[in-house]
Symmetry: C2
Subunit: 442 residues, 2 copies
């Protein structure tokens, strides 16, 4: 296969990008001035700003505030078209992507299909402990959180009430910490005056982490201060506790040889990452390796072995840094990879020499713990507390694609900060009564 075969032809190089997340969208946008024809494929019609998804799950923001239609983003980019379609497989020999209802030819393929949660071989836990990767999961978590308080208000049995007011969050990474912090604010502030029979303040929020500390990849000093801050919000941290079973109303956790059963009606999942199953499809079609998390092992230039016309980027790729460690599944990694791939493709069409390898420039990492509280590491500097929180606010606000959404998010954050309110606390899509069949009481 010779990927330069098309460049001399009259029709432009066809670049197919799978996935409209941070990596795929960045690739497509950075190709806007290149003489190529870009097709951006996604199952969903919007780009989701996942770092703020926990705010949808905790009623601080509305789904549309953190989602922007892909078509809107590239509406003026004449060399890009958006295809709402479901990719089911690959035919690398014929350079085709197989869709559920057709196929599409590429000269260059960029796979940026992301990842979802891993239940470590226990997929039966998924309905009992929803993860936080999609809008639907966020509104489902929101429903469960607020429904638990509603049911506790009506529970006559103190034991049942306690179970309803116990929230277990599995995984002490940024998602788990952010969820726990927001949940603590809901229980201790937002709902203070709302109930007549329960005291939301009595809610028990547990953050359960299998490793030795929360926010594992952060420097030890920052981790310790974060843990201290988390505890100060009334959240219980259980480190070195591994979840070994989840049943309706109960989880079993193990620490060393001891196992503990914990009664809880709300379990949220923030642990483990599993690459999109398309990685497996591509591996089968090309013979490339996948790692334990199902990610595709890429070459230093983000192509895959023996297929220089296929790039794999973002959470679905396993890309090593200079020290031979895999790069983390973060938005900046995916975006820089997208920029790199766009540059490589531009070099190709202009006959310039491509760069030999992708290098990640770490802009720093940060996680928010709660109101006025975050931790950040930028270069060798570590920040904790109010300044880190302002930094977190600013960085996240500025990264939101659409100016209108930036304004809406800022307004709601200011409002939530001043009033402690979270106005998006709607319980919708009640499963036992699907929309359309219900009569309403309004």
């Amino acid at each position: 296969m010779n990927i330069t075969s098309k460049t001399s032809a009259a029709s432009p190089l066809r670049v197919v990008v799978i996935g409209g997340g941070f990596g795929g969208l960045e690739t497509a946008r950075k190709l806007r001035k290149s003489p190529v024809q870009v097709t951006l494929i996604d199952r969903r019609n919007f780009h989701l700003f996942q770092p703020l998804l926990y705010q949808v799950a905790t009623a601080g923001l509305s789904p549309a505030n953190i989602a922007t239609p892909l078509r809107y983003i590239v509406r003026r980019q004449k060399n890009c078209e958006v295809l709402l379609a479901d990719v089911t497989g690959f035919d690398p020999d014929r350079r085709r992507v197989i869709l559920r209802d057709g196929e599409i030819t590429y000269d260059i393929l960029v796979l940026a299909a992301g990842a979802s949660h891993s239940y470590f071989g226990h997929d039966e836990w998924a309905p009992l402990a929803p993860g936080l990767k999609t809008i639907e999961q966020a509104t489902e978590i929101r429903r469960r959180i607020f429904m638990a308080f509603e049911m506790a208000e009506r529970a006559s049995d103190p034991q049942v009430r306690q179970e309803l007011l116990t929230f277990a969050i599995i995984g002490g990474g940024p998602t788990g910490v952010e969820l726990a912090g927001a949940l603590a604010e809901i229980a201790h502030h937002t709902l203070t005056h709302d109930f007549r029979h329960i005291n939301p303040n009595e809610a028990r929020i547990m953050l359960i982490e299998a490793g030795p500390s929360v926010l594992g990849p952060y420097p030890p000093a920052l981790r310790d201060r974060a843990a201290e801050k988390i505890r100060s919000l009334g959240i219980e941290i259980l480190t070195e506790h591994r979840v070994i079973d989840i049943q309706p109303g109960e989880i079993t956790i193990q620490s060393g040889d001891a196992t503990v059963r914990l009664r809880t009606r709300t379990v949220l999942w923030g642990a483990g990452v599993q690459a999109n199953p398309l990685a497996k499809g591509l591996a089968e079609a090309t013979g490339v390796e996948i790692d334990r998390a199902g990610r595709i092992t890429v070459q230093p230039d983000l192509t895959i072995a023996n297929h220089r016309d296929i790039f794999v980027i973002g959470d679905i790729a396993c890309c090593m840094d200079a020290h031979g460690k895999p790069l983390p599944g973060l938005a900046p990694v995916a975006m820089q990879q997208g920029q790199f791939v766009a540059r490589q493709i531009a070099s190709l069409v202009h006959g310039r020499a491509p760069e030999p390898a992708f290098h990640y420039r770490d802009p720093g990492t940060m996680a928010t713990i709660g109101r006025s509280m975050a931790v950040a590491q930028i270069g060798q500097r570590q920040f904790c507390g109010y300044f880190a929180w302002l930094l977190w606010l600013f960085v996240h606000l500025m990264q939101i694609v659409q100016f209108e959404n930036r304004l809406l998010v800022l307004l709601q954050w200011m409002w939530n900060y001043v009033t402690h309110n979270r106005s998006a606390r709607l319980i919708t899509q009640v499963p036992e009564e699907p929309a359309g069949t219900q009569t309403d009481q309004h």
Copy 2:
């Protein structure tokens, strides 16, 4: 039954209000200074500002912008508690409301459970032509509208593409007119630059009304001008056309003796009103009459025959005006009835004489047709065009319960007006791939 029996006792009068819509919420709030104990029951945890629901269906606003948690609204009202519960029946002899999971005793019952759509005996049409009464229905309509454009973009058959770009709205009342107007703006402005294979401008939008004109209850001059404005937006109006069948991909409409089949993939329902089935339950329990729309016939003082302890208000009530005509199903009617009932209850507990009859003071009615265009009737005055539209904006903005939501709605309206954008155009809850089971491509 003697409803004054409790007033001399130590415990306060128990008022149970069913439904947190305009009527029920107004009753509960206006009782805040009365020595009564109010229980506000709803199946949903929020009050929905239904007049703007069509803006959620057409991606102009987010659900949370027009919904406010009931608990939040009455959080400071010590004599009111909110109960998230499903009412299944009534036991008027024992003064109990039967819930799905229990029962509750009342001294005074206020039934304000609202209405949903009527398919005129064709309930099988509901999944093919969703109505617009709940948040879930609004997001489902939004999904169908934007999915139709997405599928048209991918359709290779011109006939199929035409069917996908044909939108039929059944019912020429305010809801139908507002939906059609917003849909015209989406097709002609919002999506202009978004697609590569279709021209959204070619969308065919049809407003189908069985009666002789759109906006039936308005004065003839206003109706005619409204129809003219609607047509100027490129919407086809078919009056005196009755829908006699809806099948997937096709509707059959009848005008006089002629029937026409129309190929369309998107049918929206804005016709007919059917009272909440609880009306039937109360009628069976008390022997009171219900009308053809399933509404309960009330006495002039909004109680029901032989049960002076049961008030019925809002869309579930059939209440005659001074001329013997039933009052329309509008928010101002329900709210004034709620205020009246609260006054009656206050009179009762304070031993004052109750008012003999409810009188509706018509504040006027208005409907928006589209950008900068509305019709309004206030007293004898009629308005049409830009001024009526500003009036419509102002009145609706001011009626939104929560100040934060007022700001958010105002901001989004300004934004949408200037940019022609509608940023909430998310296709969510795709039925064939329920949340939680899907992996995502971000």
